[in-house]
């Protein structure tokens, strides 16, 4: 599966949203499909010196230089170790009317799921071990939970830049 967007859309868009789910360690996460652009294999990442751990480096995405974020570190987990199924999810975020493209490291991409708003619970105020504003909601799938991330908060360009600045001082 290379193009997540190939999944067909059904249902009415007001209630049902599509999420791309992926795995980091043993935890399952989801991002709104509309915010993701593509999934690429992990290969040839250029390290940028002096960067905090969550910033793994930059890649060449068809001529565009794109920073790659280690989401695990950002979420307070252990850094991702590169394996065979490691991939980069390319997301596109809007910030100050500008589009920012970021790569997210993930252990494996799972599937695209459709979720009814009703089946999504609010982020718990504690217990998830993740900053509450990073979470859009929690979806229950069969017997596992999927943490639906709020990409704009979890990947806020401004905050990432501040963290880089702090690291350099």
């Amino acid at each position: 599966m290379n193009q997540a967007s190939k999944q067909k859309k059904t249902g009415s868009p007001e209630v049902i949203k599509q999420y791309l789910t992926f795995r980091i360690g043993n935890e399952h996460y989801g991002l709104e499909l509309s915010q993701t652009r593509e999934i690429i294999e992990y290969s040839g990442i250029t390290e940028v010196p002096l960067m905090p751990n969550f910033l793994r480096g930059v890649i060449n995405l068809r001529g565009e230089v794109v920073p790659v974020i280690d989401l695990a570190v950002r979420l307070g987990r252990k850094s991702i170790e590169v394996q065979k199924r490691t991939c980069i999810i390319v997301v596109e975020l809007q910030n100050n009317e500008q589009n920012h493209v970021l790569g997210l490291l993930a252990d494996a991409v799972s599937e695209v799921i459709e979720m009814d708003d009703e089946n999504i619970e609010d982020a718990p105020s504690f217990g998830a071990n993740i900053r509450a504003e990073f979470i859009q909601g929690i979806a229950k799938r069969e017997d596992e939970f999927v943490v639906l991330l709020d990409a704009n908060n979890a990947l806020s360009i401004r905050e990432l830049a501040h963290l880089v600045e702090a690291q350099l001082q």
Binding site: L55, V58, N60, P67, E165
Partner: protein, 732 residues
């Protein structure tokens, strides 16, 4: 067929015209008495008014009309443009700029704006003479007014445009009405004659009432440009045949017109005579001769030649006409007409594509040398040369002379000097020096700040200058020149100069430096760029607009540039800004350190040497290079990269400003042309890396910003109190 496009063109054109209007007004202010200068201002106003009318921008039309009237009187030497009038005309020009700006953003002109306009118009009244009824731009009201204004005086008809139109048959069906074109033309001037050509109405059975068979012969008295007149036909141009004869064209033009049109020559001739384009005698003679000649030769001769031979027109008239035509031609090849407007975005796209081409070329290069096929390598090399040539040519497309930017300061200096009660002259040198358009835009603010600063703090008041035996009038000089792939911009003033001691004291008081620390002059001067040094004493409402010299320095550094200061007490101050010509593509040198690819900008490199072949200065990161001590930075250390083998390290000796330093790397790979890709906002705080770039292999390389890298190193060494900064200073 895009009105929006035409409107955009108008805005761009208006901006240019307003700029040249301003420049011309300032020339008058400097004592220029040339009539052509006034003409230039008049033409600018007139053209703006005319074009604005085309687009129904009534506020612009009615305001500019009055300004134009005043200018017209100046042109007729009924009034002189002197100080008083100039100080109204300049704000009038600004007001037009505001109106244009508002129109561009589709903003309505609010009451304040209109009141300002009215105030300016009131101020212009003394220069207006008696009759100057404000025009209300005539809009296409349901064709109530007649099309002839009656007033045909003023210009003789040879002074008019002649327009010959044969419309395409499907125009009406396509929803176009030629009548609306006449309305357009009327906004440009006055239609003094029109003949509707009915010759092509067919026989009864062939007549399709929805098809257009008519044509027009139009005489238009107008000061509009040919382009403006052509624009009136914008929507019908493709399917119709349109011939435009400019004013004062000689009879050839009309004869050629007659010959090129499908209708009967006699009838056409009569139309032209009726519209006073040519006289009956001229026509008669020309047609008769043509007939005879045709009989004799069996073909139609060139009428122009015949006219001279037969003396149908006095030779001097023909010659005069030829002269005029020559002049017209000369005008045509003047700069304005040699340019074509291109959307900057398209240009950027082209340059980006060429950047990709450059990268791909490098990849091909790499593959060819891997394969080792000499013929292939040769072919690839020659392709490489072309790629380079294309790149250079493409980059020059975006190059603009810096003169336009400098020119803007004439106004700033004039206005500011007045408000400061100082006399200041602005001199400009090297206005033709070119640099990338995108750089020019970013250079505006820092330059503005430096110039304001020089006027405010640099140039002394007249009394002080007199006491110092200096001329009353201070001078600020803006210079530009190219220097080894860089542009060097200078801002010099003959003012009071910087007081090194005062700077030192302030820096000590503000805790920037410690007492007793030795700093070179240059380093002390550089302190003025420190945010902590803009003291209240310095801040006035002029230069202290919340922006300090620190912002100036940051702006320049963002452009990969540097700034140096030279100053002498009582004599003056010179700032020189050194910038790369473009930020899009650079020539670089590819190196690696700790498994990361880096690019060193080629224009900073002096030489590359084996580190171990040089003698080290004991206990310091410093080598002896042919007798000179050169401090160095080890990339692996400064960037905390993986440790590697020291034995094969290389040193790249770089120059920045007047200083030299070494960059120690693991491996040298060679020269590379590279497209600069911005790293994005996340990496903003990272010093020493100016951007990124793609290698032939597709890998990302980081471009070093030498200036930043070295100040970064100095800062870190300062903390460790190490040799690097000391050595850098000793070199001066």
């Amino acid at each position: 067929m895009n009105l929006d496009g035409a409107l955009q063109t108008f805005f761009a054109e208006a901006e240019d015209l307003l700029n040249s209007m301003e420049a011309a007004l300032l020339r008058l202010d400097e004592g220029d008495k040339d009539m052509e200068t006034i003409n230039e201002i008049f033409r600018a106003a007139h053209t703006i008014k005319g074009s604005a009318g085309l687009f129904g921008l009534n506020d612009i039309v009615s305001f500019t009309h009055i300004v134009e009237n005043v200018l017209d009187r100046a042109r007729d030497e009924k009034i002189t443009v002197s100080g008083d009038l100039l100080s109204i005309l300049l704000p009038c020009r600004d007001h037009i700029a505001v109106l244009v700006e508002n129109a561009m953003h589709e903003r309505a002109n609010d009451e304040t704006c209109l009141a300002q306009g009215q105030a300016l118009l009131d101020a212009l009244k003394p220069w207006l003479g008696v009759a100057a009824a404000p025009v209300i731009a005539k809009q296409e009201s349901n064709a109530s007014a007649g099309f002839f204004d009656g007033n045909t005086g003023g210009s003789s008809d040879r002074d008019s445009w002649h327009i010959s139109v044969r419309f395409g048959p499907d125009l009406l069906r396509n929803g176009m009405d030629p009548f609306s074109i006449l309305r357009f033309l009327r906004t440009l001037g006055e239609i003094t004659h029109i003949t509707t050509i009915t010759e092509h109405l067919p026989e009864f059975n062939d007549f399709d009432p929805e098809q257009l068979y008519l044509g027009f012969e139009i005489t238009l008295g107008s000061n509009a440009s040919q382009q403006q007149i052509e624009d009136a036909f914008m929507f019908v141009r493709e399917e119709s045949s349109i011939k435009i004869i400019p004013p004062r064209s000689n009879i050839y033009a009309f004869v050629n017109l007659i010959q090129s049109l499908p209708e009967n020559a006699q009838r056409l001739g009569e139309i032209l005579v009726k519209s006073h384009a040519i006289t009956y005698q001229e026509l008669e003679a020309a047609l008769a001769t043509q007939k005879n000649q045709a009989k004799a030769l069996g073909k139609v001769g060139m009428l122009g030649d015949i006219l001279i031979e037969e003396q149908a027109v006095a030779p001097e008239i023909v010659n005069a006409a030829l002269d005029k035509q020559k002049k017209n031609n000369e005008k045509k090849s003047s700069p304005e007409n040699r340019f074509i407007r291109v959307d900057a975005e398209r240009l950027d796209k082209l340059i980006n594509l060429i950047g990709e081409l450059v990268i791909n070329r490098q990849r091909v290069d790499l593959l060819a040398s891997k394969m080792g096929n000499p013929t292939l390598i040769e072919a690839v090399t020659s392709m490489g040369n072309f790629t380079e040539a294309i790149r250079d040519a493409a980059l020059t497309l975006r190059m603009v002379p810096i003169g336009d930017t400098f020119q803007k300061f004439k106004r700033v200096v004039r206005d500011t000097a007045k408000s400061l009660n100082k006399e200041i002259e602005l001199e400009i040198e090297g206005a033709e020096t070119e640099l990338d358009r995108s750089m020019v835009e970013k250079l505006n603010d820092p330059l503005m700040h430096i110039v304001r600063n020089a006027m405010d703090h640099g140039i002394e008041s007249i009394s002080v200058r007199q006491a110092r035996n200096k001329p009353d009038s201070g001078t600020i000089k803006l210079t530009a020149r190219h220097d080894a792939g860089n542009i060097v911009i200078g801002i010099h003033d003959d003012g009071g100069g910087l007081d090194v001691e005062k700077i030192r004291k302030k820096a000590i008081t503000n805790g920037l430096i410690e007492e007793g620390v030795h700093l070179s002059r240059q380093e002390l001067f550089q302190l003025i760029f420190h945010p902590g040094l803009s003291t209240a004493e310095q801040v006035t409402n002029l230069s202290g607009r919340g922006v300090g010299m620190d912002v100036v320095k940051r702006n320049i550094e963002e452009l990969q540039g540097g700034i140096e200061i030279e100053s002498e007490m009582g004599v003056g101050t010179s700032l020189s800004i050194r910038l790369p010509l473009t930020l899009a593509i650079i020539d670089g040198f590819h190196v690696t350190a700790g498994n990361i690819d880096f690019i060193v900008p080629q224009n900073t490199i002096l030489e590359c040497v084996d580190l171990n072949s040089l003698n080290h200065v004991q206990g310091q990161n410093c080598v002896n290079l042919r007798g000179d001590q050169v401090p160095y930075i080890r990339l692996r250390e400064i960037f905390s990269l993986q440790p590697g083998n020291h034995s094969r390290e290389k040193i790249v000796v770089v120059q920045f400003g007047e200083k030299r330093a070494g960059i120690v790397v693991d491996e040298l790979h060679g020269e590379i042309q590279t497209v600069v890709k911005p790293m994005g906002p996340i990496f903003q705080a990272l010093k020493g890396i100016g951007g990124s770039s793609l290698l032939g292999t597709g890998a990302v390389a980081l471009i070093l910003d030498i200036q930043q890298l070295i100040s970064f190193a100095i800062n870190r060494e300062h903390l460790r109190n190490n040799a690097f900064s000391v050595n850098i200073q000793e070199q001066e």
